[in-house]
Symmetry: C2
Subunit: 239 residues, 2 copies
C-alpha cells in the first residue's frame, strides 16, 4: 500500500528540481529496471505488481491501480523503480568523447545516449542547458543504455578550452565528413535543435565537418540532431 507521501515523492521526480533535491530518479518497465539493477546504479525502492525477489527491504508490491497513479507512462509497465542519481565518473580522454551544446529534446538526448552505447562512446558531456539525462522521457528513450554511458554536465566552453585534442563540430559549411580523416580521440560537438552550435563554442571547434546533402539543393532542410549523431558516429567508428 502506497502512502500519500510516497506518491508525492515519486510524482515530484518528474521535475528536475525535485530530482536534484532528493538525488533520485524514476525508471519504468521490467526490462529496463533489470538493466539498471545489473549496473552500478544504486536502487532506492522498487514498486512492482509482481515480485522481483531482490532485497526485500527495497521492494514493495503494489496494485495495478497504484502503479497507474505513480507512473509517468500512458500505459504503465509492471514496475517502477527509484534509483539514486550517481556521481559522474572521471572523463576518459583516451577515447572519443561526444559533447552536446544545449540539446533540449528528451527524445533526442535519449537516442544520442543509445547511439553512444552502440558505438562504444563511454563519455557524453553536456552543457548545463542540455536537458537533464534523468528526465523520465530521456530514461525511457535510452532503453537502459544510460547505465553504460557516463553523462557529465559541465561548463562546455571551459571544458573544451582545456581539451588538447581535435574538437570536431558539424556545420552547414564544414568539410565533407565522408572525405575527412577522423581521429580516434578528441571531442565531437553536436548543437542545439534550432540553432546548431553556439558562436562561443564554434570559435573553439578546431575541425568543422558537414554531412553532405544528396537531395534537391533547393531544400532548406536540416537533419535532426539524433540522426546527424548517428551518421557522424558511424563515420568516426567505421574502419
Amino acid at each position: 500500500m502506497l502512502s500519500k507521501n510516497q506518491i508525492k515523492l515519486i510524482t515530484s521526480l518528474k521535475q528536475k528540481k525535485y530530482r536534484l533535491q532528493h538525488g533520485l530518479f524514476v525508471v519504468e518497465g521490467t526490462k529496463t529496471i533489470h538493466e539498471f539493477l545489473q549496473s552500478d546504479f544504486k536502487l532506492d525502492t522498487l514498486y512492482a505488481i509482481e515480485p522481483f525477489n531482490i532485497d526485500a527491504k527495497k521492494e514493495a508490491l503494489i496494485s495495478e491501480a497504484e502503479l497507474k497513479r505513480i507512473s509517468f507512462l500512458k500505459t504503465p509497465n509492471k514496475a517502477l523503480a527509484i534509483f539514486k542519481v550517481p556521481r559522474p565518473k572521471p572523463i576518459d580522454h583516451s577515447k572519443l568523447i561526444v559533447a552536446l551544446d544545449d540539446v533540449r529534446d528528451p527524445g533526442n538526448l535519449g537516442t544520442i545516449i543509445r547511439l553512444c552505447d552502440w558505438f562504444g562512446v563511454n563519455d557524453l558531456v553536456c552543457s548545463q542547458e542540455t536537458v537533464d539525462c534523468f528526465n523520465p522521457k530521456v530514461i525511457q528513450a535510452t532503453m537502459g543504455s544510460i547505465t553504460r554511458v557516463n553523462v557529465t554536465y559541465l561548463d562546455l566552453e571551459d571544458f573544451l578550452k582545456q581539451v588538447k585534442q581535435p574538437i570536431y563540430g558539424t556545420f552547414m559549411d564544414g568539410t565533407n565528413i565522408f572525405n575527412k580523416e577522423l581521429s580516434e580521440t578528441g571531442v565531437v560537438v553536436l548543437g542545439n535543435e534550432a540553432n546548431g552550435i553556439s558562436k562561443n563554442i564554434e570559435s573553439i571547434v578546431t575541425e568543422k565537418l558537414s554531412i553532405p546533402r544528396f537531395g534537391d539543393l533547393q531544400t532548406t532542410e536540416s537533419l535532426n540532431v539524433a540522426t546527424a549523431a548517428a551518421i557522424v558516429l558511424s563515420e568516426f567508428k567505421r574502419r
Copy 2:
C-alpha cells in the same frame, strides 16, 4: 468564422478513415504550409490568423481561439491548411528505393522521410501496415520533406518479388555494412520497431546487412529504426 461542420471535418482528419473518406489531410505551421504551397500538393483550404494572400476563395481568416479549436498541436502555430491527398507517382527503379516493413511510429516515419529527402531518395515504399504518412504527427515530423519524397503504400511482398535488383535488409547477423560494396540501385528494407523485418520479407531479401556494434557486446540493445536508416543511407550515398 468557422462553422460547426468545418470544425468537425478538420478534427476528423486526425483519423486515417476520415482522411481516406475525404481525401484530405492537415498541415500546420506557416513554414511547412509554404513548402506545401510551393509543391505539387493541391490546397483545399487554408485557415490562418494572418493573411497569406493566396487564392482568396481558398483562404479563411480565423481567430487564435478558433485555430486552437482545430489545431492538433499543443502550441498551435499561426495557420492550419487542408491539402488533398495526392495519387502516388510511378516508382522510379533507376534509383535507390527505401522500403518500410510495418514501421508503426509516426515520429520514425517522419524522420525517415526527412532522411530520404536529405539523401536524394525519391521513392519510399511502405507496407500496408506502416503508419499512414498523412497522419498529422508524421507530417509535422517531416518538416515539409514529404513534398519531395514519393510515398507509395503497397503489398510489400508482391512488390519485392518483382524487383530485379538487389534487395538489401538490415539484420543482427548480416554482413558488416561498412565492408560491403553497395549498389546505386535496388531496394533497402527497414523493419518494424519491435520485430525487425518479417519472415516473409526476409526470405526475399538478397543481401543481408548489419550495422556493427562497437560498444560492450554484453548489451542486448538494438538501434532505433530511424537512426539505423540514417547510418544505412549515409553508407549507400557516401562515395
